[in-house]
């Protein structure tokens, strides 16, 4: 199965860089959606005999990560009429370099992490670490709330991928993880975007610092 999993993961990793390198929000949304679709398919290949519960899980992730969340984001983007992230805290070239550095570090770290034996050879662990790293990069360096939501989704994807290792041992935890996705969706959309656009008539989280004590 490794010959299918690894190409999928590499494609997902490449999408990380697309998200990091683009300033067009629509492109970033599409990249994250595609990554979500790839990840949603993964459980089928990792655990060939997953049963009905697993199939439902795959279906849920696939629809949620690949279609529902991106549709929401596109809708939000139209609503607030923002197309570009113009001035991130760190420019695109540097972001890409940092992302590459993080992915490299993830590959190095993953080999020395204290993991179960059957997990050490896989690309899953470094890929998930790299996704978490990219997610954090997006979260900390982008000004627009929508870009931050995308960063959060990348982070989520990383966590989901890591959780897949536990799918057989603790399916419950993975399912809770999917629920978390749904929850953050509602949360992020409802609170951040709605409030920011209404109270400050802009979509930048910079203005949240006005709430500082």
């Amino acid at each position: 199965m490794v010959q299918i999993i690894d190409p999928l993961l590499i494609a997902a990793l490449a999408l990380n860089f697309v998200t990091l390198g683009t300033s067009r929000i629509r492109a970033a949304i599409h990249a994250v959606a595609l990554q979500g679709i790839l990840l949603g398919l993964l459980p089928l290949f990792i655990h060939p005999h997953i049963g009905l519960r697993g199939i439902l899980l795959v279906l849920g992730t696939f629809v949620l990560k690949g279609f529902v969340v991106p549709a929401f984001l596109v809708h939000a983007m139209r609503e607030v009429e923002i197309q570009h992230e113009v001035t991130p805290f760190i420019n695109y070239i540097s972001s890409l370099l940092l992302g590459a550095l993080g992915t490299g570090m993830a590959l190095v770290f993953a080999h020395t992490l204290p993991l179960a034996d059957e997990h050490t050879g896989l690309l899953i662990v470094p890929a998930s670490l790299s996704m978490v790293w990219t997610g954090f990069l997006m979260l900390t360096t982008r000004r627009k709330a929508i870009m931050q939501v995308l960063g959060y989704l990348l982070l989520e994807n990383g966590i989901f991928l890591f959780g897949l290792l536990l799918l057989e041992a603790m399916p419950f935890l993975v399912e809770i993880g999917v629920l978390l996705d749904l929850f953050t969706l509602v949360f992020v959309m409802g609170i951040i975007i709605h409030h920011i656009s209404r109270e400050f008539s802009s979509m930048s989280t910079d203005h949240l610092s006005e709430l500082k004590e």
Binding site: H111, L113, P114, T140, F172, D206
Partner: protein, 675 residues
């Protein structure tokens, strides 16, 4: 068990429905209060069945939460605690329906009803839970729903502060209980309660672990129960909540702490002797400090909250005495002490519920709970006033009411102990009798002051106008509670007869139940009941005679506390403060006395202004917690640099932490190999 599940389902569904109907105050009130009453009736029936027939009834379902199982059971101890819950909760709900309705313009009534029903269901779940996870979940839901109820009037800053204090205290307790359950679970290999007794008896929970668990439980559950010095949240939170919630909190919620201790006792049937002594000592300290502070408060509900602390102290003392009796193999002492504690739990639920409802009725009718502004309310609010007097007599532990009976059992237990032992123990017991009597005396003064200042005399503040008696929905539940108090007072032996199963769970050692000394303390109870009955008869006769005589006699009317002055004014009355001046300023130990600041008038013809101010801050809060927290708050204020108010920076902190943790994990394996 089916009835109990039905009760929980009714409460939860009703609460949810009340929330959905939140746009209409009327619908939310009817649905919320109605289902609270209905659910409580189901619960009460199931509790009484279990209590009267003995035996246990359990239900165990698998649960996908790690280490958790949905394991509930109704045994005598559970049923014993469910009875006061399901008696007080519906009455408080009926009352609350009317009480909260006054807020309908300002607030939505859906959420408070949802939370009220949730709170009742959560307390019931705490009592029936037989799995550590389930217990802790119910415990947390209980604490949180109570927190939101306390914060009902969150627009007031004092209420927000009170809620905060309660939340912090609850979570400290919660943290300690988690540790206690982890220790229990590690010893027993599971978190199901039915394995814990084996773990204790087979020594897989050893001496040290057992004692650690007891220490954690006494602090953790003691925080909930308001033991001194862990009580400071209680006099803040209870007065801040709406009155029917205060009644449930003081009547039942804080008793979950006692329930926890008693439940632990069913796991560890032979705790170390220090447990009993500690509880007894802590109880006396709590009772004394509680009543000494209650004496000085001017907010009616604060008086009651401090009085709750006193009563929790008395119950803890009695429990401790029972445990000490067990440790010393003195069946009579153990039985009297435990029965006294159990009876006082029921009594206190009823009478404190009654008094909080009365206080709420006064607040509802006058708009204030400051006793220095009230006065002469007995005339204006006859129903509230009369039930309040009954409740006060009960709380002052005077015959002919129920508080007297449980206090009597405590005295009897102490006396039996002093007779059974020699020298030091006997001396301590006599000392304890003295202290108990002192506490009793102070509580009499407290409640004479409360009723005397609020109900008698003349109104002290002209601005308190439009005083009106509350509706039947509010006075009815109060009268019912007063009636229940009287019933327990007159037939205490019948009431305590229901406790047989609980006492067997609590007390016992090898061969004890066959020993001739294992005998119900019925004699003591009957004497107390007889004293109550005769006193009641005497009071009723006296009242009848007075009523007949005064009806014929019409004399001149003069104001109360008039002292024969020609032109008395209301300012000549005793104030709440002056009433206890001697006791508060001269009798109490110095650290409990009120802080006063006076500027006396000077000269024969004083011209300058004179001034007097008096405050009664909580000594523990003032001397211990405030300096401690101020010190650390000051130190920690330097960390403000970290608070940049930018989401990005906060996320950066998280990122650094994650990267560092990962790096540490992998570098460790790098250097030291796979661990």
């Amino acid at each position: 068990m089916l009835l109990f599940l039905l009760a929980i389902a009714t409460l939860l569904l009703g609460g949810g429905a009340a929330y959905l109907y939140r746009s209409s105050a009327k619908a939310a009130t009817w649905v919320g209060a109605g289902t609270a009453v209905l659910g409580s009736v189901f619960g009460l029936v199931s509790a009484f069945q279990a209590l009267a027939h003995g035996g246990t009834d359990g239900l165990r379902l698998a649960w996908s939460i790690p280490l958790g199982s949905f394991y509930i059971e109704i045994d005598p101890l559970t049923a014993f605690f469910m009875v006061p819950l399901f008696v007080l909760a519906p009455l408080a709900a009926l009352y609350g329906g009317n009480y909260l309705y006054a807020y309908k313009e300002k607030k939505s009534l859906g959420p408070p009803w949802f939370l009220y029903n949730l709170l009742i269901a959560a307390i019931a779940m705490v009592f029936v839970a037989r799995n550590g996870i389930l217990f802790l979940m119910a415990w947390e839901i209980m604490a949180l729903s109570a927190y939101f109820l306390v914060c009902f009037e969150h627009e007031k800053e004092s209420v927000r502060k009170a809620g905060w204090a309660y939340l912090v205290a609850s979570h400290i307790a919660f943290a300690l209980l988690i540790v206690a359950f982890v220790l229990l679970g590690r010893g027993a290999g599971t978190l199901d309660f039915d394995q814990f007794p084996n773990a204790f008896s087979s020594r897989s929970i050893g001496w040290a672990t057992g004692n650690t668990i007891w220490i954690l439980a006494i602090i953790g559950f003691g925080l909930k129960a308001g033991f001194v010095p862990l009580h400071v949240w209680l006099p803040e939170a209870h007065p801040a909540a709406p009155s029917h919630v205060s009644a449930v909190m003081s009547g039942i919620l804080i008793k979950t702490g006692l329930y926890g201790l008693l439940r632990l006792l069913t796991f560890d049937r032979t705790p170390a002797p220090w447990v009993g002594l500690t509880l007894a000592g802590l109880g006396l300290l709590t009772a004394f400090l509680g009543i000494a502070m209650a004496l000085q408060q001017r907010d009616i509900k604060r008086v009651l909250a401090y009085s709750s602390i006193e009563n929790m102290g008395l119950i803890a003392f009695s429990m401790g005495l029972g445990l000490w009796g067990m440790a010393q193999r003195l069946p009579e002492v153990a039985l009297l002490g435990m029965t006294g504690a159990l009876l006082h739990i029921w009594n206190h639920a009823l009478m404190k519920g009654l008094l909080f409802l009365s206080a709420g009725s006064i607040l509802h009718g006058t708009g204030t709970k400051d006793m220095e502004r009230l006065g002469g309310l007995l005339r204006l609010m006859p129903f509230t006033g009369s039930t309040m007097i009954l409740g006060s007599v009960a709380l002052a532990a005077l015959p002919p009411l129920n508080g007297f009976v449980s206090k009597w059992l405590m005295y009897m237990s102490l006396m039996k102990y002093s007779m059974a032992t020699e020298t030091a123990g006997s001396l301590m017991a006599h000392f304890g009798v003295g202290l108990l009597a002192l506490i009793g005396g102070l509580s009499v003064v407290t409640f004479v002051r409360l009723t005397g200042i609020v109900l008698l005399g003349a109104p002290r503040d002209k601005t308190v106008t439009h005083v009106h008696e509350s509706s039947k929905w509010m006075t009815g539940p109060m009268q019912l509670l007063a009636l229940l108090c009287l019933v327990i007072a007159v037939i205490p032996q019948r009431t305590a007869g229901l406790f047989g199963g609980v006492l067997q769970q609590m007390i016992g050692w090898e061969g004890m139940h066959s020993s001739p000394e294992w005998e119900w303390p019925s004699a003591s109870l009957e004497i107390a009941g007889a004293i109550n009955a005769w006193t009641l008869l005497a009071v009723l006769t006296l009242a009848a005679v007075l009523w007949v005589r005064t009806r014929r006699f019409v004399g001149p009317q003069a104001s109360t506390w008039g002292c024969g002055y020609v032109r008395p004014t209301v300012r000549m009355q005793y104030t709440g403060r002056s009433f206890v001046e001697m006791i508060a300023e001269h009798l109490l130990p110095r650290f409990l006395r009120p802080r006063t600041r006076r500027e006396a008038p000077r000269g024969l013809f004083p011209a300058g202004k004179a001034d007097f101010e008096s405050q009664s801050p909580d000594p523990v809060d003032q001397k211990v917690y405030a300096p401690f927290f101020c010190y650390w708050a000051d130190r920690f204020s330097r960390l403000r640099i970290l608070q940049q108010g930018k989401v990005h920076v906060y996320l950066l902190y998280i990122m650094f932490t994650v990267v560092l943790a990962l790096a540490w994990a992998s570098i460790r394996t790098w250097f030291w190999g796979v661990s």
